[in-house]
């Protein structure tokens, strides 16, 4: 190890004592060098009045340099090889407050004392021993002084009070232990900041191969920090060791105690000269996702949805960084759970318990394998499934993913998703294996319907803010079917989430439909076309719908109750024009055709019926036929949609009496 010069390195001293004509003794020293500090062009002047004046051409502490310093001592002198300064005042260029300096340095014994203090902002008392060792007591040092003393730290505005002890034993070790109270710092943009820090710190350095070996412990007891985007509170404890040489700090191993994590270890190499993180590795074991998820995961992956994102279970894993970039990641989930509540406060999406391994490497593909015990999408329960995915950089590919839903399944094939600069882009295909309608309607809270739902979507496309399904979803129900095409889910995770579809219904059995919804009784069949259906939070906000009796020969009867309900939908005095005289005498009536249309736009349903409307705007909804027969006629072609929906719900609930005129 390089021999350290503890005190005034006599080998480097050049004495130039000289008495001037004015009786002033001068002592000049060219330079004093030490690994931790350096002095150049020292000049002591000893006037005859007992004062001592010291000028320092340049002072270096670590990498910081000051020039043209001047120390004026009110008392002191150079006596019996002891250089003394009493009540000295040191002024540093650019520093507001002067430093009070007292020292007594025995140049022969190479021992002495040095005391530095700044008004009420701290005191450093240094003892220098003949064996070359030194001890410094730091008392109530105001760290805001560092802003002035070390210009490089001004940008982070350090502050707080430090008390501690510094021991230096040349060729053996250096120890620093102390406590920071009320500590704080903050970058100008506020993205890195801390307040009210209470930290116990202990550092020990010893000479190593080509540099220093070090050990450190840190116990963060009070305060909080915001290290964008993370908000971190006290309660972290760390113990680390490593080496330092040529401006590189090597953290061989750091063991960190963090709330919610059973074990956390890290290593790193930091190049202070280049100001870069050369490499780092972090490994954690058995972390409680309910604790670490909201603090460390949500701010990073979904800050906007942090309140809606919930975590459960445990995760272990590792990360490797090089030159500040993530190079490798492994995450092993153990009974983990994730849920994202809907933007409208609904149940949203949830998966879990989930177990398995997700590896990622920057330069090669990896295979992730997860078993998911189940989940929820809106009100639908999802069954257990396995997810095997190939990960290449920012792309994920899944050959097949089968998610059981009720008694059917969603089967995705050839899924490929890329996380590009604009967001996730990709596609694949989807088949919905038949879901029984009784189970589906029960799950989503609709009256029970028979039939099945299935879908074949050969073109599933994902782009930022949009999921498009090129194909058809078919629901066989009420002896007929519904066929939905042109399905597009827009902004699926935002407040403006909405769904577009075109729906074609054929040969829907009105008897089953009206019985299911307790609407009275209508026998016969209808076809329907609903174009440009737009649902916002599952409620229609736009469509162009047309319903007509299906072609063919079949029984066509409508019950008195159904007539009354259709009438009731029109509101008081709005719709029905029926043969009042016969309504009360018969339970059912014949009809030849049912037909009406509704174009919903801006909350208003523009209605029409069979054929052209009359001059007064009347339109026929049910055209009578057979014996007895009646017509149901609509009078109001513009109906507020919310009002119509409200009336329909009340009719179905049986709370509205028909108004017949």
């Amino acid at each position: 190890m390089r021999r350290l010069c503890m005190f005034l390195c006599t080998a480097l001293l050049m004495w130039s004592p000289a008495a001037t004509a004015l009786g002033v003794l001068s002592l000049k020293i060219d330079r004093v060098e030490h690994p931790a500090f350096g002095l150049a062009n020292l000049s002591f002047d000893f006037p005859s009045d007992g004062r001592v004046s010291l000028s320092i051409g340049a002072l270096r502490i670590a990498d910081h340099r000051w020039r043209r310093l001047r120390l004026e001592c009110a008392g002191g002198g150079f006596d019996a090889a002891v250089l003394r300064c009493e009540r000295g005042v040191l002024r540093l260029p650019g520093v507001r407050e002067s430093v009070r300096v007292d020292f007594a340095l025995d140049m022969v014994a190479r021992a002495g004392t040095l005391e530095l203090s700044v008004a009420t902002r701290g005191r450093i008392a240094i003892e220098l021993f003949a064996d070359g060792s030194a001890r410094a007591n730091v008392s109530a040092l105001d760290l805001t002084l560092l802003r002035e003393w070390v210009p490089g730290l001004a940008s982070v505005s350090p502050g707080g009070r430090f008390d501690g002890v510094f021991n230096w034993r040349p060729s053996r070790d250096i120890e620093l232990s102390g406590r920071l109270d009320g500590g704080h710092f903050g970058t100008r943009d506020g993205l890195q900041a801390a307040e009210n820090l209470g930290v116990e710190v202990s550092i020990r350095l010893s000479p190593g191969v080509g540099g220093w070996d070090w050990q450190a412990t840190l116990d963060w007891q009070d305060g909080a920090a915001y290290l964008h985007p993370f908000y971190v509170e006290a309660g972290i404890w760390a113990r680390a060791h490593g080496d330092f040489s040529d401006g590189r700090l090597n953290v061989r191993e750091a063991a960190i105690s963090l709330e919610g994590v059973e074990q956390l270890a890290a290593s790193a190499v930091i190049d202070f000269r280049a100001g870069s993180l050369v490499r780092a590795a972090v490994a954690l074991a058995n972390a409680d996702l309910a604790v670490v998820g909201p603090k460390w995961v949500a701010p990073l992956v979904a800050p906007a949805a942090g309140d809606r994102l919930k975590f459960a279970g445990r995760v272990s894993g590792a990360m490797e960084f090089e030159h500040g970039e993530l190079r490798a990641l492994d995450a092993v989930f153990d009974e983990a759970g994730f849920s994202l509540a809907g933007g409208d406060g609904g149940p949203g999406l949830a998966f879990g318990p989930m177990s398995g391994h997700v590896p990622w490497r920057e330069n090669r593909s990896t295979q992730a394998s997860l078993h998911i015990g189940g989940g929820w999408w809106q009100k639908l329960a999802l069954g257990a499934f396995d997810l095997d995915a190939r990960i290449e950089g920012r792309a994920v590919r899944v050959d097949r993913l089968r998610i059981p839903v009720l008694d059917g399944a969603l089967v995705f094939d050839d899924l490929s998703l890329n996380d590009g600069d604009v967001g996730w882009v990709g596609g694949g295909s989807l088949v919905v294996e038949p879901l029984s309608m009784p189970l589906l309607t029960e799950a989503i809270g609709l009256p029970s319907m028979s039939g099945v739902l299935s879908a074949s979507i050969p073109g599933l496309r994902v782009s930022p803010g949009e999921v498009a399904l090129d194909g058809a979803m078919v629901v066989s129900v009420f002896d007929g079917y519904l066929r939905a095409t042109g399905l597009r889910l827009l902004e699926p995770f935002g407040v403006g989430s909405h769904l577009f579809a075109d729906i074609e219904a054929r040969h829907i059995d009105l008897a089953q439909l009206t019985e299911t919804f307790s609407f009275g009784s209508i026998s016969g069949f209808v076809d329907a076309d609903i174009r440009a259906l737009e649902l916002v939070r599952w409620k229609p906000v736009g469509f162009a719908a047309r319903i007509d009796s299906s072609p063919g020969h079949y029984r066509r009867r409508i019950s008195q109750r159904a007539v009354q309900n259709i009438s009731a939908l029109g509101g008081a005095g709005a719709m029905a024009a029926i043969q009042r005289g016969i309504l009360g005498f018969f339970d059912t009536f014949g009809y030849s055709r049912i037909g009406f249309g509704c174009e919903l736009h801006a909350g208003v349903c523009e209605m029409d019926g069979i054929g052209k409307p009359g001059a007064d705007g009347r339109f026929v909804i049910v055209s009578g036929g057979g014996i007895p027969a009646l017509d149901v006629i609509g009078y109001n072609p513009r109906v507020d949609w919310p009002v119509l929906v409200d009336r329909l719900q009340r009719v179905i609930a049986g709370n509205t009496a028909a108004e017949v005129r």
Binding site: H228, P299, G494
Partner: protein
């Protein structure tokens, strides 16, 4: 102009401009939901604009300019607020382009809005111009 009306005014002026240039139809239920969401959030963002913590970015988004004036414990929430606002803004630009039948216009819509947000920023707010922040 009252702060509460600012969002609406910007949306209106942008839409009028867009209609004049490309016959854009911006009124849709999804756009309405996004406007409502943004207007509700504006009550929280307005003091942050005023303090300079959040600025109006040149790309039609908002950005954390200087969090130093925000209490430490709330900086994460401000970050979440900004993320939510930007998610809504991006969705709004897409929706306007879609409602016009031209999803590819999203970039132009965003640019138009970005200019309007900057123009309509109140005195004292920070806006991004020429790569730097300028206080109006």
């Amino acid at each position: 102009m009252k702060i509460a009306h600012l969002v609406c005014a910007v949306l209106m002026s942008a839409s009028l401009s867009a209609v004049a240039q490309g016959n854009l139809e911006i009124d849709s239920p999804a756009i309405g939901a996004l406007k409502q969401s943004m207007q509700q959030r504006h009550a929280q963002l307005a003091p942050l604009y005023q303090s300079g913590a959040v600025g109006i970015a040149a790309d039609g988004s908002v950005a954390l300019r200087s969090a130093a004036s925000v209490p430490l414990a709330q900086r994460g929430q401000v970050n979440a607020l900004i993320s939510a606002e930007n998610a809504d803004r991006s969705a709004l630009y897409r929706e306007i382009a879609r409602a016009n039948g031209h999803p590819e216009w999203e970039g132009d819509v965003r640019k138009t809005f970005a200019e309007r947000w900057v123009q309509r920023a109140q005195p004292g707010w920070w806006v991004q111009q020429g790569g730097g922040w300028v206080q109006k």
